[in-house]
Subunit: 214 residues, 2 copies
């Protein structure tokens, strides 16, 4: 079995770390970057830079998703400040991981890659239903039944039970270029420092005892 | 619960019939048409015409899928003539139904539509793994766990156990404009008459005892 892997790459810290972990484990990685109309256009550029730094080819897949209802897509909805995590936040993009995993599955099957890596984790983003372990188990069944290669393709989630600081510590050992990554939900010139994603990034670096290079 | 429904519309006979069945049952339908780089560009136009004829708004969603390996996408692969159905045919597009259903799910959730219709059926296309009843059951779990609305969204497959001729008979009762639909895998000026899809269309009309208006 070839060790070819499709790695979902968003431009953020988690997927960048996942890419470097996959490389460390000897996988021949192809990064899959999505343009789904996200307001934060900067993360696409970051993802490309991270792929180049890792020496991996990348695919930029475009997909039309509905703008309505998600603050990551709809400029009329304000990205929430601070960290009020009751229920599912407005930054939730409906079915995003399912869309991304299914496109990754299509590419993996087409290029006969037997592995898909996704850098989802549960600790910080428990607000997203499509980051739960049970979700990946369910998607796994879809993959097994609904494709030609079926069980021959594995979906790997190496960060699933890791905390942000553990991810950062691991990533620094592997030389992940965190200065190239972009976490802020707003695509400004500098991170806003106020959104959920900035909050978790700052907290992660603080707990890891390291300065954020960004 | 609103009776708003997202209906996957390909431009072929099955999805057109599904749309008219959903309308008959009183659903307020929004057609979802995909441009996934299919060689057969004509079906996109057909889908738009069918939606207009049904009086339904439509969304055209673009999605980048891999060309390699599928004769519906890769012009270097010949679309098979005749009907040699051993294993999965080259017209299989990896994970296509999973990609389409996941985008439909994203739209349904965004617009708070509680129903998704897909015109898949098992009889003729048993070669496609993502048309099997077990596949839809598995995708259902993904939907239930991986979205905000979860079990509040239903995926309906009214054609699943119907034969092509049953579909046609039902469609004619409902006034489905079959002359507007396009089945041929090749996007030529006239149906090739030789591909799988032309074969099943012809066979369906013959069994239904009706002349194909196309």
């Amino acid at each position: 079995m070839s060790k070819k892997a499709v790695v979902l790459l968003s431009g953020g810290m988690d997927s960048a770390t996942t890419l470097f972990m996959a490389k460390e484990r000897g996988y021949k990685c192809i990064a899959l970057i999505f343009d789904y109309g996200q307001r934060n256009r900067r993360e696409i550029k970051s993802a490309k830079n991270v792929a180049k730094k890792a020496g991996c080819p990348y695919i930029l897949a475009k997909v039309t998703l509905p703008r309505k209802g998600s603050s990551l897509l709809d400029p009329r909805i304000r990205i929430p400040k601070g960290r009020k995590r009751k229920a599912i936040p407005s930054t939730y993009v409906p079915a995003r991981n399912t869309v991304m995993l299914s496109i990754a599955l299509s590419y993996a099957e087409s290029m006969r890659a037997h592995y898909i890596f996704i850098g989802a984790h549960t600790e910080d983003y428990s607000g997203y239903p499509d980051c739960r372990p049970g979700y990946f188990k369910a998607f796994n069944n879809v993959k097994n039944i609904g494709t030609k290669l079926g069980t021959k393709i594995k979906i790997l989630t190496p960060l699933l039970n890791k905390s942000k600081s553990e991810i950062i510590i691991k990533g620094l050992q592997l030389g992940v270029p965190y200065r190239m990554t972009w976490s802020c939900y707003k695509g400004g010139l500098r991170p806003c420092g106020e959104c959920d994603s900035c909050y978790y990034r700052r907290k992660g670096f603080r707990k890891a005892g390291v300065k954020d290079p960004l």
